[in-house]
Every structure is written in C-alpha cells, then in structure tokens.
C-alpha cells in the first residue's frame, strides 16, 4: 500500500457523506471496504438545544492528520477522510464524519475506530451545551471511557 494523503477538514457547514465516499474511491478498483462513522448531536432527552463547537485552528487539522497517518501506518488503507464541524450544531445534525477505505473490511473498521478514538481525546475541539430551559450551559466534560478507548490501542 503506497502512502496516502488523508483528507482532513474543519468547517462550519454540513457535508454529503455520499460525495465524500465518492471522492475517496473515485477511479479506484482496489477498494473492497468503506467504513464511515458519523457522530451526531443528541438532544439528551430534550434538555439540549444546541452544542457550540470551539476548536484550535491549525492545530485541530494538524492533529487529525497525525492521527490519520498513524492509522495508515497500522492498517492497509487506500484512503482516509475526516471532517469536523465547528460552530452551533443542533440535535440530529452531524458533528463529525470519518471514512476509511481499504481492500479489506477489518482494516477499514479498525482504522475508522482508531481515528475516532484518538480524535475524541487528542484533537483540540471543545463542546459547550446550550440548554432548552434557559439555564446557562456547561462545557462538556471529558469522559474517562474515551481515555480508556484510546489506551486499548497502545
């Protein structure tokens, strides 16, 4: 597998998963498996009005690229895409999309899982909650389960 160039973007607007898959596989005949992960904003049983996503411009993209290159070194992938949205996101909308393409299905599943596990803990994004009841929203706390999810890859 030759070196791949991960496609990484941080943007305000939504995106088309179909188009992103096509971009990743276009003109190739060696891709046997494409795994996508979409992370969506939940409404927390009606309590949440929106999430406000903040990021560290420059480092956010650089960190995701570092994670993607590590994934590409561990599994035979033909392409990796990661798109993270910032700004205000309402329940039901997509926050993040990760795509892994590979000749083999387990490589695609593992690379996508790895990319998400590290993106959660290492990419500089932060979520603030806006509540429906008008009470000032809190910054979301980091989860210990996310650290554990990352550490199982070591």
């Amino acid at each position: 597998m030759s070196a791949i160039i991960p496609s990484v973007r941080v943007q305000h607007g939504d995106f088309s998963i179909q188009k992103e898959i096509r971009l990743l596989c276009e003109g190739r005949r060696d891709v046997g498996a494409v795994v996508t992960f979409s992370g969506l904003c939940r409404d927390e049983a009606g309590a949440l009005a929106a999430l406000e996503l903040e990021h560290y411009p420059g480092m956010a993209e650089a960190e995701i690229i570092r994670i993607a290159l590590e994934a590409a070194a561990r599994w035979p992938v033909t392409g990796l895409t990661a798109i993270h949205r910032v700004g205000k996101i309402i329940p039901g909308e997509t926050i993040v999309l990760v795509i892994a393409a590979s000749p083999h299905r387990h490589a695609a599943f593992e690379a996508a899982t790895f990319l998400m596990d590290f993106l959660k803990t290492d990419a500089p994004f932060w979520k603030k909650e806006h509540r429906n009841d008008g009470i000032a929203g809190e910054w979301v706390s980091a989860k210990e389960t996310d650290d554990r999810a990352k550490n199982r890859w070591r």
Partner: protein, 84 residues
Amino acid sequence: MTKLRYFAWVRERIGIAEEDLELPGHVKSAGDLLTFLAARGDGFAEALRHPKVIRVAVNQEHVDHDELIAGASEIALFPPMTGG
C-alpha cells in the same frame, strides 16, 4: 515574545483568547508556565487552579507539563478535549 492562546473554559475564565508575552527566564517548563500565569491572579488563578487538568500545546503539538518550552513561538492552554 511568545504568543499565548487560551481555549474553551480556560479562555472564558482568563477572559482573553490570546496575548503576546515575554516569559521570564525562570519559566523553563510547561508546568513552570502554569505556575507563573496562575500567580497573575484573578482570571488566571481561577482558570489554572487545578493545573493537572490543563493541557498544553507548544507550536501546535501536545506536550507534557515537564516539557521545556524554550524557543516556543506559540503556546496554548486548554481543558481536556471533547470533540468528535
């Protein structure tokens, strides 16, 4: 001069998003920087009260608190990340 950048609740508590600062010679590690900034009082003391939870990035790469920061052009302080 070093550009300091603050994010999320670190930024909110400090009250500014970034500043340019001449760091004194005794501030050698990322941990030293946290101690130095916390001593500036008010928002800084509040934001950096639990230094262990603060993450530090030097020139846009994560570093541990014992990492030396000499020559850094940009240092960022922020809480644990919650993206994805």
